[in-house]
């Protein structure tokens, strides 16, 4: 990273966000192959879709 970039005004915000990052998740992901990371992403997408559908259904049944 060039020095000029690291001194930009957005840095304090980025540093603040870093405190809340779950490093254990990153370490888990870094142990996977790139292909495995994408298969995991698609499973997560599927799960998010299922959750959305379930939420819509629950709201419509109220």
């Amino acid at each position: 990273m060039e020095k000029a970039e690291s001194q930009s005004g957005i840095d304090p915000v980025i540093e603040a966000y870093k405190k809340d990052i779950d490093v254990t998740l990153i370490r888990e992901n870094l142990r996977l192959t790139v292909d495995q990371r994408f298969q995991q992403l698609m499973k997560l997408q599927q799960f998010a879709d299922d959750l959305r559908r379930a939420g819509r259904k629950a709201r419509s049944e109220k």
Partner: protein, 158 residues
Amino acid sequence: MTDFNALLRLLVEHEVEFIIVGGAAATAHGSARLTFDLDIVYRRGHTNISRIVNALKPIQPYLRGAPPGLPFDWSIETIEKGLNFTLVTTQGALDILGEIVGGGGYEQLLPETIQVEIAGVECLCLGLESLIKVKRAAGRPKDLEVIAELEQILDESK
């Protein structure tokens, strides 16, 4: 759901010259964040645009968010006249980008890429440091948390 495997295979099988960028590139580098679309930077030029048009035709590309029924001609001429297209296809959301802020086009990004294997095909993906650089250049509020994670990945990878 976006079928990243299917989209990437389709592009590679049709010999499209492209670079994975955006959230999918972050995933390739180890990001734990959920992304719903595949962003690629494609080489401008008639031959490559022709390959993109042929590759995507079977999956019915249409402008994402556009009202149904709006005339959209998926053709070489359309792509040549435009630059960046956010598309929905039968295999999910796909953004084909002629240029990205802070990174430029395919030729500028090419030296900054790494080769990755996804779904049995070899693709080019923007390198981690360059991905951080373009996210910083874009300066979008929604990217700040992403940048924080990518920089953490960079530290962990050292």
